[in-house]
Symmetry: C2
Subunit: 491 residues, 2 copies
């Protein structure tokens, strides 16, 4: 049946006109939260608040019903209690409404009777060629159009990441985690019960959306696995899809049933489906954000070979373990690199991969990094506890006061050397087309000086080796999938 229906998700994410059924002046209500976003931010859209008991809300003319609205309506947002919804949907039939977003909850996630009621509503909508998002949705966002129908969502930085989430609060969690890492977003949808538009419909749309470069999904259960497989296979040729799948255990599946009424299904079935369609399944939230962060800044790893450069032996050992445990490789240095590093470093260096610079880190880092970038054995370089080190070279509060000036001079000198070295290496890094990732200790990795911020704009930085390596391994998987199946889509 869906085949004959229009799929106007473009208008859903960028409507010209919106009616809010249940618009309210009461701060405790969703109808206040949604409407006030339009009042304060004034995006380029006609807004019609609907409330039979008011003439004006938040200074806006209010309409008694959908019928009363003089013009056509692209998107109707419904936040009133569920009993009223069939009539409202019925009244949309004559207004050329393309989409309805139902925030109201209490449908399929509650029980069988409510599921039938939900299906009834969809039937009415489809009679009028109208599509439904939700119910039980927590709203959607188009950052580029400044459109927010969510509550408690901070304004987001513009970017290419779009989120499709089967949990409203967890979707916000993903966004807030990403924002903390400086990521920018394009679209967000809390899919709710997916009575009509399904997870896979949004994937299909995001795949074609020119503002979306990366798709992130939180999945409890897919309603149409076959379609997901077909759609995802198309989309991943061009854009990565990273997902977090819950309901991996029996107990988790039961929890899902009462959350969105989805069927979690067999974990192994999902694993197979993701593998077949190049969808990347993160093991946990930090890994998910980490993979997006790396993909956002760096090219895909062309293989599994990891070269590790470090100012601290422990970081080298730990990162090596993590790499091997995640299915990557830590190959030997080529003879040429060995010779080059022997020239650069004092005799105490580790003479192998991981390259432990010992006491020479800070000064020799970028020379060594350039040697590793030139080594054919490596597809990925992890620079651990050696980038941005000049951010902590200012010892002025650790030295006697009459040494303060000298300490500051010294710090400035190190900063200058690191800045020059970093700028020199940038073009080599880009030419080499290798994946470069940094690891550093809090206070260095997240230092707020200009140079460290500049480094982080080019090289994704992590505090935890396990998170960094887990994220890299997802990207390696993506490159392997593409080279096996669609070698032409690789640049």
């Amino acid at each position: 049946m869906t085949e004959e229906l229009p799929n106007p998700l473009e208008a859903f994410f960028d409507p010209s006109s919106i009616a809010i059924v249940g618009a309210s002046g009461n701060m405790e209500k969703w109808g206040f939260g949604v409407l006030s976003q339009f009042v304060t931010k004034d995006p380029d859209v006609e807004v019609y608040p609907i409330n039979p008991n008011k003439n004006e809300i938040l200074g806006m003319k209010t309409y008694k019903s959908i019928k009363e609205v003089p013009d056509g309506i692209d998107l109707v947002i419904i936040v009133v209690s569920k009993e009223a919804i069939p009539d409202i949907v019925e009244s949309c039939k004559n207004k050329d409404v393309e989409n309805i977003l139902i925030i109201t909850a209490g449908f399929a996630e509650v029980g069988e009777e409510e599921r039938e009621f939900q299906e009834e509503i969809v039937k009415i909508a489809h009679e009028g060629k109208t599509r439904i998002a939700g119910p039980n949705s927590m709203g959607h966002v188009n950052v580029h159009a400044d459109l927010y129908t969510t509550r408690l969502m901070p304004r987001l930085k513009k970017g290419g990441i779009s989120i499709i989430s089967q949990s409203g609060t967890f979707g916000i969690h993903i966004i807030r985690n990403g924002s903390e890492e400086g990521l920018g977003f394009s679209k967000y949808i809390s899919t709710g019960n997916e009575a009509d538009y399904k997870f896979e419909d949004y994937v299909e749309y995001m795949g074609k959306d020119p503002d979306t470069d990366i798709i992130v999904g939180y999945i409890e259960g897919l309603r149409n696995g076959r379609k997901f497989l077909d759609v995802a296979r198309e989309v991943t040729k061009e854009k990565p899809i990273f997902v977090l799948k819950v309901g991996r255990t029996e107990e988790g599946s039961e929890a899902i049933d009462s959350h969105t009424g989805a069927m979690a299904g067999e974990n192994s079935v999902y694993k197979g489906m993701f593998r077949q369609s190049g969808v990347l399944q993160a093991r946990n939230m930090p890994e998910l954000i980490g993979a997006v962060k790396i993909y956002n800044l760096q090219p895909l790893p062309k293989g599994k070979g990891v070269g590790i450069l470090t100012g601290g032996g422990g970081f080298g050992c730990l990162t090596t373990d993590e790499a091997i445990e995640h299915g990557l490789e830590v190959p030997s240095l080529s003879q040429g690199t060995m010779g080059r590093l022997n020239d650069i470093l004092p005799p105490r260096w580790s003479r192998g991969n991981p390259v432990d610079m010992a006491a020479a880190y800070g000064i020799k880092t970028y020379e060594c990094l350039s040697a590793l970038l030139n080594d054919e054995n490596f597809d990925i370089i992890i620079a651990a506890q050696c980038l941005g080190m000049s951010s902590i070279m200012n010892l002025s509060d650790l030295v006697p006061s009459d040494y303060g000036e000298e300490a500051e001079k010294r710090a400035k000198k190190y900063k200058e050397i690191e800045r020059e070295n970093f700028e020199e290496i940038l073009s080599l890094m880009k030419e080499s087309n290798k994946t470069v990732v940094g690891i550093g200790t809090p206070g260095i990795a997240n230092a707020e000086d200009e140079l460290t911020k500049k480094i982080r704009k080019e090289i994704p930085m992590f505090v935890s080796p396990s998170v960094a390596v887990g994220a890299i391994s997802l990207l390696v998987e993506y490159h392997e999938y593409l080279s096996e199946n669609y070698p032409r889509s690789l640049k």
Copy 2:
């Protein structure tokens, strides 16, 4: 041989007098870094800078050699190049030196010849009944005595956590991560090559140290497994030992060889040893810090039963999966709790564990939490996306300006309700003796308002469910170990 030697680690961590051989006025040198800590911080200790070429460094009278120092010396710190060290150690013989800390590197981690040289030095020290820490150490710290022989280490908050690390930089990484989480520290030692004092000696000492409540270890390889087993078994009766073990893979083991010259050994042997002695092996750094953070604030879990309370269904599903995957259990609600929650919550709640409060979170959180604390089915309560919610209730920047005052009033009201509810639940939480852990989204979990900070002082908060659950599972393991082996040591 070690049996006949003194084990004056107490004096090592709290010396009355220190000589620094290689004290320097050159900011690039370790001998400057170490000495300047004493000049600027002035801990309660006699300091003798040793440098044959100077009469004064950093305003302090300087001695030509150890022999020249008029009094006895508790601790000699050596930062000069290795060739000079045998003579220096020889000269310690007549000064009743208890301990020597050798920062200098280039010994067993480099090769066989250097290993023999290292052993030679230890032999000389033992003839004078002097013990050696290092070589290749990056110093030690006693936060309670304000003693820092490290470089680039920020001043730490006092607390009960002591760190024993076979990597200097990674030890600092653990400390900086812990500091970010607000943890307080007692002692730190970068063990270096462990030519004399071994990892297990420090564990034994920390076990008896009244300022140490929790021991954290970074291990590449243990020199004396038998002793570690005996010592750890004693210590874990009273205090937990959390470790991160690297060299779990062949490649990781090779990296270790060139780092500290330790033998990583078979992973399975270590696993067995840790299990037999109640030592808790973290899977990664965030889990290690997480477990310490929970133990620091909450009682040990008395069993595996997790009750999950959440304001966001997705958090409930994900936390359930994580709990089951980490070997915990997510039991049903008792009938009494089911009834109580039916009374508290609107009909839309999940009617099971996880308890998804749906729209009622924020207002009903603490009532529900109290119901779960009273349910015998649970040993652990995870409160996800529901604590500190009043920190984001201030919508004043999201509403039209003439609603600003009302928005602030409303925010204040919520804050007041949450404060009262939280204070009410505190005594119940303590009586129940259950382990309570919070999960929240960035912006809520780490909010800086007074109330949220107060909540975090009682309930450890996490952003990632996987990290929280991994950390809890380590503590469950510890409780199981103690109940099986030393039920009396459980309060």
